[in-house]
């Protein structure tokens, strides 16, 4: 009898221990959870890891660094917020700012920004991109604009000049592919980069996906303004013509950033609008990346030059147990020393730039940089992908896609406002 009860008690005790072992160990007072999104083994990672360790030693913290893709970071942050277990410092994307701010997930770092020695060296455009409702929500750890990259050798072989306008792009059609086997013009049809591409083409037509209204809210106005709707439809028509003319690969409607980066870096695609992180491909693809030149993104006749200014925010998450340390670490990523080490030529600080084409030629486009409006972008980015799929995959008219997207954006804005934490 006693033996049986003892055994049963042991089973219960073991199970209880196992169950309690499933729960987190909890942070001690000096531990900072850091989430990054670098490519393991590449120069950014190898340069920053020792700096993080040194900073932790100098300041008496333990920094637990985890690495994810940006898509994973977004979803894991939401899941962590639901579980009340957010990390402390996170590499973010500009698209997350409006959404996370509405959900009350971001710490205000305005005071730390004001005390920051390098703050005066950061352009107003970058500072504004990291400002929501008058408060700073992060430090710029990586800042780039997009440019139109061209494999000069491929275009030379095809006898094609670098296009400056949409019409010039479409006029080339399949000539480059016919002559060289490489498709001419890169298009991103899905994933996180697709909305970044679309928002530029819209800006080149003078459009924004959401305009600030007198009451401070944001609304898409295309369906209220026939001229805007027609201009938006022309953007979708451009996408359609790219594929129809043979300028872009018929597979591009389902390309994400992995496919587009790879096809350009390997020379399967001759020209592509992308950021200067592709400089890293000069090492991994030396045979095909040596002929790359940098140009402004082709724009429509009568339109305006524009590019996507991507100033990635180093978030400090609300409720951090080590908020002072977290803010200090976030600011350290934006410091001149760390920017020079890990983000040379991809920095908001002029000191962390060089004379290379990856820096000088990209920075020449900064004045035409545009950003996403500070709205919750989660559903909006999905709607933008769906609208392009309507045209490129379902054969819907550009007019229908533009009208649908305008309504979908407004629905998403209304829904996110209804669920706002404020």
């Amino acid at each position: 009898m006693k033996k049986k009860l003892w055994m049963a008690g042991a089973i219960v005790a073991t199970s209880t221990l196992a169950l309690t072992g499933c729960s987190g160990s909890g942070n001690d007072d000096k531990t900072i959870e850091l989430w990054t999104s670098w490519s393991e083994g590449e120069s950014t990672a190898t340069a920053l890891k020792p700096l993080i360790e040194q900073w932790a030693d100098d300041n008496g913290y333990t920094v637990n660094q985890s690495n994810f893709t940006y898509d994973q970071i977004h979803e894991k942050l939401i899941a962590s917020a639901a579980g009340g277990n957010l990390p402390d410092v996170v590499w973010g994307l500009p698209e997350y700012i409006g959404e996370f701010d509405q959900l009350g997930l971001l710490e205000d770092v305005s005071a730390e920004w004001d005390d920051w020695d390098d703050a005066a060296n950061v352009s107003d455009a970058v500072k504004d991109a990291l400002t929501v409702n008058g408060k700073q929500i992060g430090f710029p750890y990586e800042t780039t604009v997009r440019a139109y990259l061209v494999h000069d050798d491929i275009l030379k072989e095809a006898g094609v000049e670098v296009p400056e306008t949409w019409d010039e792009v479409l006029a080339v059609g399949s000539a480059v592919e016919d002559a060289t086997g490489s498709t001419f013009y890169g298009v991103t049809g899905t994933g996180v980069r697709m909305p970044q591409e679309l928002v530029v083409y819209l800006a080149q037509k003078g459009l924004s996906i959401a305009e600030e209204q007198a009451d401070g809210t944001y609304t898409n106005t295309w369906n209220d303004n026939p001229d805007e709707l027609a201009a938006a439809a022309e953007v979708f028509q451009f996408y359609s013509d790219l594929v129809e003319s043979g300028a872009a690969s018929p597979n591009s409607p389902t390309y994400g950033w992995e496919e587009t980066d790879d096809t350009f870096a390997t020379g399967l695609n001759a020209t592509f609008t992308v950021g200067n992180w592709l400089a890293e491909r000069e090492e991994s693809n030396p045979d095909t990346m040596g002929d790359v030149s940098v140009h402004p993104i082709p724009h429509p006749e009568g339109g305006q030059p524009a590019t996507y200014l991507e100033s990635k925010p180093m978030f400090v998450m609300a409720g951090s147990d080590n908020v002072d340390g977290a803010k200090a670490l976030a600011r350290e990523f934006a410091s001149e020393e760390w920017q020079k080490a890990g983000f040379m030529d991809r920095s908001a600080l002029p000191a962390a730039t060089s004379d290379s084409k990856w820096s000088k030629d990209f920075n020449a486009l900064l004045d035409t940089g545009i950003v996403f409006p500070p709205i919750a972008m989660g559903q909006v980015t999905q709607d933008m992908q769906d609208s392009l799929a309507m045209v490129l995959q379902d054969g819907d008219s550009p007019e229908d896609a533009a009208a649908w997207l305008g309504d979908a954006i407004n629905s998403a804005i209304e829904e996110s406002a209804a669920n706002s934490a404020e």
């Binding site: 219960v12 199970s15 390309y255 790879d262 559903q379 799929a389 829904e415």
Partner: protein, 302 residues
């Protein structure tokens, strides 16, 4: 004596209760509680992050789900994905079991080799196939073009007309070993006398298979088919790894819709409502299985 017997019975009950307690804790904590919460959230206003979104929602969440333009296509996709996968797995698995049951040299090697796809983690299998099928870099398209079987590479996972069939084929590739091993085990339990008697009666190979092997496989086949129907219908990770429901929702199934509601729109109420709908559907599958199982048992008993 009587007092002692009662005492022993009481102590046995105590022991059983204590021994079962861990299992009950797991069942209540890891299955019961989440299940009840899903049912409650299905009728509530619930947001993944914002606790201020609350209150009774009635049938609003169900209304939102069934009026979602993606619901009908996703339900149809779920049916195609489930039936296509289970049918293919059954046929290929049965064929493989017959081959593996044949007495040939290297039988052990073939049995181990056939089981390998099942051992590959879903994420690894999905990503590997994604690259094999890639229209620009994939080896399959390279071979198809090289051999002159197609003029241009096929965008297997990016073309709406190919995508669902492709993910089903890859799912069959990964899962058929499970069927094969199950059927193989059942085949090896069939008494050799049955085949000898059938042969004496003049039955050829096909009739022996149809009248001896197949009836003996009914019981394991019933279990494996119905279990896999439920597993496949609620499967999320395989499609998510390979297509994320694309291109343009062509492979979106109901579990992926649940994920989008929850993790992209943060609408836990709608996600729970759709989960409840799926729960009812899979329960119906189980009820059908249970009725067939009972009928089969009755037939076997006599």
């Amino acid at each position: 004596m009587r007092v002692g017997a009662v005492s022993r019975e009481t102590s046995n009950k105590r022991f059983m209760t204590l021994a079962l307690l861990p299992a009950w804790v797991f069942i209540i904590g890891l299955i019961g509680y989440p299940l009840v919460m899903v049912l409650i959230d299905a009728f509530s206003n619930a947001h993944l992050v914002n606790a201020n979104v609350s209150g009774f929602a009635g049938l609003d969440n169900f209304d939102k789900v069934v009026s979602d333009p993606h619901f009908g296509p996703a339900a149809a996709n779920t049916a195609v994905w489930t039936v296509g996968s289970v049918l293919g797995e059954f046929v290929i698995g049965l064929g493989a079991a017959l081959l593996l049951n044949a007495k040939v040299r290297g039988q052990g090697f073939f049995r181990v080799a056939a089981f390998i796809p099942w051992l590959v983690p879903i994420v690894v299998a999905g990503m590997t196939w994604e690259w094999i099928l890639n229209p620009d870099f994939g080896i399959l398209n390279s071979l198809l073009v090289q051999w002159g079987l197609v003029e241009a590479p096929i965008n297997f996972l990016g073309d709406k007309s190919w995508a669902m069939a492709t993910v089903i084929v890859v799912n069959i590739w990964r899962t058929f070993p499970y069927y094969a091993i199950t059927f193989l085990a059942a085949m090896q339990a069939i008494p050799g006398e049955l085949y000898e008697a059938a042969s004496i009666d003049g039955a050829g190979a096909f009739r022996r298979f149809w009248h001896v092997t197949m009836p003996q496989l009914r019981s394991p086949a019933l279990i494996i088919v119905f279990v896999h129907m439920i597993w496949t219908a609620v499967n999320f990770d395989f499609i998510w790894v390979m297509t994320q429901g694309g291109p343009n929702y062509a492979t979106e199934t109901l579990p992926i819709m649940i994920y989008r509601y929850s993790m992209q729109q943060f609408d836990v109420g709608a996600a729970s409502a759709l989960s409840t709908i799926m729960l009812v559907a899979t329960t119906l599958i189980f009820v059908v299985y249970y009725r067939y199982r009972r009928r089969l048992s009755d037939e076997m008993v006599g």
